[in-house]
């Protein structure tokens, strides 16, 4: 990190301080209130909704998250459940069909009366359920790295915002590999478009000339990369070190990397840093030609901590498959679930409003050896890791931020959102507060 980019911005520092105060305050209240609440809550079960596609295109990624949720719920029940009640998982299958996500979400909240829902992968599915959660005042935990520019009272974002993944990765390439020319390649939908918009603005603030940035979008499931790779090669032959920042969606990556290998582009020539390629995606391909290409995440299976070793062991035992990999969104669910359990214990009830208020400031251990805290903007603090792909499909961690990075839900590099902050503590309670004009532009709780 360059010196002008502190890990925790001043804005963030204020938030941490405020969060700490909130924790203290809530702690005092909840300890006083906990006894009667627990007494009244005994008996029955607490329902937890799991809203992940088990069929269709996204099943490849989301099935794993359903499994990890079932494991976490089982473990929590073995520890005695929450507030003296057992947890009960309600699994639905939205079948990679975005409108169906909204229907299933409605069912989970109003029919099944789930206390919280863990789900969604693609941004479009999240956007589809968002109005439902806001209307019915439900709670959603969203575990995937995403494009930011959103801050809803009813959603807790446990995945990375762009500054917790994309920007540190770009910084790494800029500092370590002296990259001067950038290809921003992505699949044509909301996450890559927004991320690339932020990255382009960020690169320009770092003095990268517009002609040194090439932006390329491809349709979903692109399988013929021949002339796109050739044009990247051509772009890279301009006498400056070039790197590709890839927001290419999961499946299309494999033919992309194969084409890179076949056209003789190695990681030492033009490194590719990907934000959607994890252990799960690499499990289906021969990674030897990809050695040295990078990925940026907040967690890798190869993280060497006791917490991670225990988690991997439990996961392999739960799935009865010694080859199952773990990945970043799984860790996000682990953190999110533990935070929710703590939040409920603190609130002493599963009532949405009380839990939403109690969640802010909750802090639980993450799997990479630190503690992640829920911030007032409903995002969590995370370390950023950069890993190089190895021949065995795992990542060799080559860089890690020295501390935790606080999420910037509204990007400071985008003109429209640079003055916005989200803060769901009372009395502000606003998802998009403009600090210049002092008004709440969106997401004010009615």
């Amino acid at each position: 990190m360059p010196p002008d980019q502190p890990i925790i911005s001043r804005r963030g520092l204020g938030r941490i301080g405020a969060a700490a105060a909130t924790v203290a305050a809530i702690g005092a209240v909840s300890s006083a209130a906990s006894t009667p609440a627990q007494a009244q809550a005994s008996g029955g079960t607490i329902k937890v909704g799991i809203l992940h596609s088990l069929s269709g295109t996204m099943a490849i990624s989301e099935t794993t998250l359903k499994d990890v949720m079932l494991m976490l719920i089982e473990e929590q029940n073995a520890k005695g459940g929450v507030l003296g009640k057992k947890l009960e998982a309600v699994v639905v299958d939205p079948a990679s069909n975005w409108p169906l996500f909204a229907e299933k979400a409605r069912q989970l909240i109003s029919v099944d009366k789930c206390a919280a829902v863990f789900g969604c992968w693609t941004s479009v599915s999240r956007k589809s359920v968002l109005p439902v959660f806001e209307e019915l005042n439900g709670i959603l935990f969203y575990p995937v790295q995403y494009e930011g520019q959103e801050c809803s009272r009813n959603v807790f974002y446990t995945g990375a915002a762009p500054n917790q993944q994309a920007i540190p990765a770009v910084d790494y390439l800029m500092n370590e590999n002296k990259v001067k020319r950038w290809v921003l390649a992505g699949t044509d939908y909301v996450y890559p478009r927004t991320t690339n918009q932020i990255l382009e603005a960020y690169l320009k603030t770092k003095g990268v000339a517009p002609e040194d940035i090439m932006v390329n979008y491809t349709p979903f499931g692109q399988s013929d990369w021949q002339n796109i790779v050739a044009s990247i090669k051509k772009f890279g032959a301009a006498g400056k070190k070039t790197a590709v920042v890839s927001t290419i969606n999961g499946d299309a990556n494999v033919p992309f990397y194969k084409e890179l290998g076949n056209q003789g582009i190695k990681a030492t020539d033009i490194p590719v840093v990907a934000f959607s390629v994890g252990e799960e995606e690499l499990a289906g391909i021969d990674t030897k030609p990809l050695v040295g290409h990078l990925a940026a995440w907040n967690y890798f299976e190869s993280v060497k901590t006791n917490a991670n070793t225990r988690f991997i062991e439990a996961w392999k035992k739960f799935t009865k498959n010694p080859k199952r990999t773990t990945n970043d969104p799984m860790e996000a669910h682990v953190i999110g679930f533990n935070m929710w359990v703590k939040g409920v214990q603190k609130a002493g009830t599963t009532d949405s409003d009380a839990v939403i208020d109690a969640m802010i400031g909750v802090s639980v251990p993450n799997l990479s050896g630190g503690f992640s805290a829920m911030m007032p903007n409903h995002h969590i603090t995370k370390p950023v890791l950069i890993g190089e792909i190895q021949g065995d499909g795992q990542f060799n961690i080559v860089s890690q931020t020295p501390g935790l990075v606080v999420a910037q839900e509204w990007s400071p590099y985008v003109e429209d959102t640079k003055d916005l902050i989200g803060d769901w503590r009372k009395p502000l309670s606003c998802g998009a507060f403009n600090v210049k004009t002092g008004t709440c532009t969106a997401g004010k709780k009615a």
Binding site: I60, K234, K241, K258, N262, A267, T268
Partner: protein, 533 residues
């Protein structure tokens, strides 16, 4: 690459003190710091240490370890250790269970270390007795273009007898000269001429790097860049044609089966893509089976997979025709819905059996990489797929024209009642025709397993394109399908750089709609009575 030199320089300043302290690059290798390891590799290659090549090779193969006392050891494949500096065998005590740091630690690599290793091995192998090794070494030195190796290159060039290796070395020297600050202007101008003659993208990149220098050097470099750009432009047109043919051959493979089921039989088969997908999964199963039971002939797995995929998907096709499609002849809308439902069933069935994840299908070594033909980069996997597409279509045409089954098929599609009157069992022929189309789709799946993900969704990506090709080419005409596939492929690849991949696809679709509006029966419409029925 120029930046890399600066990086080396920078690290030299930063860590020079540590490395200088004992003047031993080997200490840097055991430092556990990537920058120091990269620096140590470069120092080692220039130190004249006779074991330098051995140590760096071990590092490249991830066999280099260091002990807690920072002694470097090389781990052999059988688990024994030798001292890296001396080559003597050493015994390494096993690590404590409680403290994994007490055992040998692998020297880990990152991209900067890999860049340093490639450059170091290049400079060490310039004198290798094998000309092929010298050639690749010259290539590595060219990529690294480190001015420090100019003297080594001069010696190597003086000794070199092989003409092509000598040219490569001279080009490598030219690249290094351009990157050095000390070279004279004449030297640099000669280097620019050498690189201009080489005329590829890498040379262009190097020349571009010095084009902004003042005086003659900058002017010569700018002129050279312009001249290279002209040549590259011509090659890039040829390259686009190749990409187009290769995309066209993939489309052709995917559409050839559909040309039979849709084109000849008139069945709107939405499950066609799933037949392709099943073929790809047959390849996966064949590879798994051969790896477990027939490792001796594993190299032939694709050749064995092709007929098996044909038979399996052909069989599935016959079953589908007998159980589903034959009840729906003459009702295109019901056929469309039924086969679409079937495609979902097949996808979910495969997902339940094999799981939703991509399956790892091996690409044989002879299908990886590329070859250079002038300024053209021809990737092997695409070349073989073009070849395979030609064989499949030729075989299909021959089967329709020269076999008795083909004769009966043509008879049934041209005039069903007359064919029946001649004693042909038309229902049976229908089933076999559908099986043939499905079998061809299965063979396409074997080819696609080499370039695309083997997942339950594989077929979805090809179904729309296949219909486009068949409709464009003219329903019921294999030649039309072939020409249609190649045309769409080439048009797509020429539009892609101009309009972008997304817009390119849309433009192709709009053009196709306009074309079909004017020529509803495609490029090569069938004439005669058969069309009316």
């Amino acid at each position: 690459m120029v930046r890399f030199v600066f990086l080396i320089f920078f690290s030299l300043v930063m860590f020079g003190a540590i490395a200088r302290a004992d003047d031993d690059p080997l200490a840097g290798l055991a430092s556990g710091n990537y920058d120091q390891v990269a620096q140590a590799v470069t120092d080692l290659s220039q130190s004249g240490n006779p074991r330098a090549a051995t140590i760096i090779t071990a590092l490249q193969n991830s066999q280099l370890y260091y002990l807690p006392d920072k002694t470097l050891v090389i781990k052999a494949a059988d688990g024994s250790y030798t001292n890296a500096a001396t080559g003597e065998a050493v015994t390494v005590p096993p690590a404590d269970d409680d403290d994994p740091d007490s055992g040998p630690q692998q020297v880990r690599l990152n991209n900067n270390v890999r860049i340093a290793m490639d450059a170091a091995m290049g400079s060490l192998q310039l004198m290798d007795p094998d000309p092929a090794t010298r050639l690749s070494a010259a290539g590595a030195v060219f990529t690294a273009h480190n001015p420090a190796v100019i003297s080594v290159l001069d010696k190597a060039i003086a000794k070199e007898t092989n003409a092509s290796v000598k040219t490569a070395m001279e080009q490598a020297r030219a690249a290094a000269v351009l990157s050095s600050d000390g070279a004279t202007e004449d030297d640099k101008l000669a280097a620019i001429a050498t690189l201009r003659a080489r005329g590829d993208q890498d040379s262009r990149g190097l020349l571009q790097g010095v084009a902004n220098q003042p005086g003659k050097v900058g002017a010569a470099a700018t002129a050279a860049v312009t001249s290279i750009d002209h040549i590259l432009q011509l090659w890039s047109i040829a390259q686009s044609v190749y990409y187009g043919i290769s995309l066209g051959s993939v489309l052709l493979l995917a559409a050839a089966g559909l040309a039979i089921t849709f084109g000849v039989m008139g069945v709107i088969n939405m499950a066609h893509g799933e037949m392709v997908m099943l073929g790809a999964y047959v390849t996966f199963v064949v590879q798994q089976f051969m790896r477990a039971y027939l490792p001796g002939i594993y190299g032939a797995n694709l050749i064995i997979a092709v007929p098996l995929a044909f038979l399996f998907t052909g069989f599935v096709g016959v079953v589908i025709e007998r159980s589903l499609i034959r009840w729906l002849y003459g009702r295109p809308l019901e056929t469309l819905l039924a086969t679409w439902g079937l495609s979902l069933v097949l996808q979910q069935a495969v997902r339940s059996i094999f799981g939703p994840n991509n399956r790892d299908v091996d690409t044989p070594a002879w299908m990886s990489g590329a070859t250079q033909l002038g300024g053209l980069t021809l990737t092997w996997n695409r070349m073989y797929i073009i070849l395979f597409a030609i064989i499949v279509v030729a075989a299909l045409m021959a089967a329709l024209r020269f076999t008795s089954l083909g004769l009966r098929m043509r008879a049934v599609t041209q005039n069903r009642r007359m064919a029946a009157a001649m004693g042909i069992r038309t229902p049976w022929i229908d089933a076999l025709t559908f099986g043939l189309g499905s079998g061809v789709a299965g063979m396409a799946g074997v080819a696609l397993s080499q370039i695309d993900n083997v997942s339950p969704n594989l077929g979805q990506g090809y179904i729309i394109d296949s219909f486009m090709v068949v409709v464009f080419g003219g329903v019921g005409n294999l030649w039309g399908t072939t020409v249609g596939a190649l045309t769409l492929g080439i048009v797509n690849k020429f539009l892609e750089p101009i309009a972008g991949a997304v817009l390119g696809k849309i433009v192709v679709l709009v053009l196709l709609i306009l074309f079909v509006q004017r020529n509803p029966r495609g490029m090569f419409p069938l004439k005669g009575r058969a069309v009316e029925t």
